[in-house]
């Protein structure tokens, strides 16, 4: 059997030749310098061709290695090498740029170690060089993207702040400028009614009353809109709140209507304390009780029940009534602003109340939902996260 020919040379080569061949095929450039000024090259592997140089360029001394290093990196590299030569450690790693034969720049990761003679003087400097230009470019790109991202976040934040500010001045304008003409309509229609009542016939008085009702509705609408926009701007104040006291306070506000209509109001045993925003909770309860009163107006024996139960760690308050109720297919719509399920002449209102409830709870970290059937009353559930 014939021995393998030269085509299988690596198999026949000595270990040294084999390693040389392997290094020459790897992206790494092996290099050795004399410890002399300018770091003349004693040995360099073929890989140096990737930067457009031949081995002879260095071995002949035509090119001094130090001259290839970028002017911005060279002082740092020279200083570090001097330090390592003098004080060690003898194994170190540096990153710097060198110029290629075509004049472009590549970043190198240079892992170096030193050989010393018996007196401790460095005789040889060995290194393996790896081109990390692509990695460096990627790092720079990541830095650039991060910087751009921060700029964009700052830009968006500024836009949002501007929009917020605009909303503030909008609600200010609504409160100030929209109410002024309303005072005129209200005031003069009142004067007309007082001073010219006798001179108006029934039609005339009807027209006048309609104008006044319109002004009243518009006034309620503006006040509710202001309350709605104010929720956004008010700082949250989460603390321990005396729940029975808040419920009683809200009910006291409706005492007149509850008494004159003889509404039966039952407050079950409530947790003595909840952690929440007191003004938000008051707003939520006030609107739910007002809602319950409104939609029990036609009920023969109006009944409102306020109760609470625990759900996980949270407390759920319920406000139940035996009013007209609603079809559950409208469940989500009733919490949207300006959405109404009834004609205004049947149940007056601005369509903001339940939207206010939902918005206030969103801010407080709570939720609201309702269970109802037409003609069977409605129960509103308010979950207060604890």
């Amino acid at each position: 059997m014939e021995k393998p020919t030269d085509a299988t040379a690596p198999c026949n080569a000595t270990d040294a030749a084999r390693i040389t061949a392997l290094i020459n095929r790897s992206p790494v450039v092996a290099i050795e310098w004399h410890n002399q000024p300018g770091w003349p090259v004693r040995f360099v592997s073929d890989g140096v061709a990737q930067w457009g140089y031949g081995r002879d360029d260095f071995i002949s001394g035509r090119i001094q290695y130090a001259d290839l290093i970028h002017a911005d990196d060279r002082p740092r590299i020279e200083r570090d090498v001097a330090e390592h030569l003098a004080n060690g450690p003898d194994d170190y790693r540096q990153e710097y740029r060198i110029r290629t034969a075509s004049g472009t720049w590549v970043w190198l990761d240079d892992r170096t170690w030193l050989t010393r003679d018996e007196h401790g003087a460095v005789t040889e400097i060995h290194g393996v060089l790896l081109d990390i230009t692509a990695t460096k470019a990627a790092e720079a790109e990541v830095r650039r993207l991060n910087a751009t991202l921060e700029d964009r976040v700052a830009e968006r934040t500024a836009q949002l702040q501007a929009a917020n500010q605009e909303l503030r001045s909008f609600s200010y304008t609504v409160s100030h400028d929209l109410k002024a003409p309303l005072r005129g309509i209200e005031g003069y229609s009142q004067l007309l009614l007082e001073q010219y009542r006798d001179r108006l016939d029934e039609d005339g008085r009807h027209f006048l009353m309609s104008i006044r009702r319109g002004a009243l509705t518009m006034h309620e609408l503006i006040e509710d809109l202001l309350a709605y926009s104010r929720i956004e701007r008010q700082a949250l104040d989460i603390r321990a709140v005396d729940l029975p006291a808040v419920v009683q306070g809200v009910l006291d506000g409706f005492a007149h209507e509850i008494q004159t209509r003889a509404v039966e109001v039952v407050v079950k045993e409530l947790p003595p304390q909840v952690r929440t925003d007191p003004s938000g909770l008051t707003l939520v309860l006030r609107n739910l009780v007002s809602n319950a009163l409104k939609f029990t107006r036609t009920a023969p024996a109006a009944h409102i029940r306020i109760d609470a139960y625990r759900h996980d760690r949270h407390i759920v308050l319920t406000v139940a009534d035996n009013g007209v109720g609603f079809d559950m297919k409208y469940h989500d719509r009733i919490f949207e602003i300006f959405q109404r399920l009834h004609r205004a002449e049947d149940y007056p209102g601005t369509g903001i109340g339940l939207a206010l409830v939902r918005k206030a709870l969103q801010r407080m970290g709570g939720t609201v939902w309702a269970v109802s059937e037409p003609g069977q009353g409605a129960t509103f559930h308010v979950e207060l996260r604890q």
């Binding site: 005072r183 005129g184 005031g187 004067l191």
Partner: protein
């Protein structure tokens, strides 16, 4: 002079013609005795201050809107309240804005009271009555 300034006027600082007319009508219901002087913007209000310095009798009360042309109400308030002689004159803010920032700033500058103009005219009449009763009849001022 203590107490007996019932005959003194009220300075009403109001730019909106409708609000001004309604306010004058509301005060007129209290009888023809109460003299109402009117400034239509912040500068006219400050012109009154100059006149009091020259001997024109000061009012028992200043009713001051916030949003005014030229010089706004808060600046008028600041100048009135920092005046060495007339700083003690009661100033009642009578305005549409219920903004916390406006209310807070008005009190910081020394407003004696802050009233949001009611939209309802009957209520507005009540408010003007109460203002006049308290500030022009009950309240005592240094002479």
């Amino acid at each position: 002079m203590t107490g007996e300034h019932g005959g003194r006027s009220i300075l009403l600082v109001e730019d909106n013609p409708v609000d001004l007319d309604l306010a004058l009508r509301a005060f007129a219901r209290r009888g023809p005795d109460r003299r109402i002087e009117v400034a239509r913007d912040g500068e006219e209000a400050l012109a009154y201050l100059r006149r009091w310095e020259q001997g024109h009798p000061p009012p028992a009360l200043v009713l001051l809107d916030i949003k005014l042309p030229r010089v706004n109400g808060l600046e008028v308030l600041r100048q009135l309240k920092s005046h060495p002689r007339f700083g003690c004159l009661p100033v009642v803010m009578l305005t549409t804005s219920g903004e916390d920032a406006d209310v807070g700033q008005a009190y910081e500058l020394g407003a004696n009271s802050y009233i949001i103009k009611p939209v309802n005219f009957a209520r507005f009449i009540e408010v003007t009555e109460q203002i006049e009763q308290y500030w022009c009849l009950l309240n005592a001022l240094p002479s």
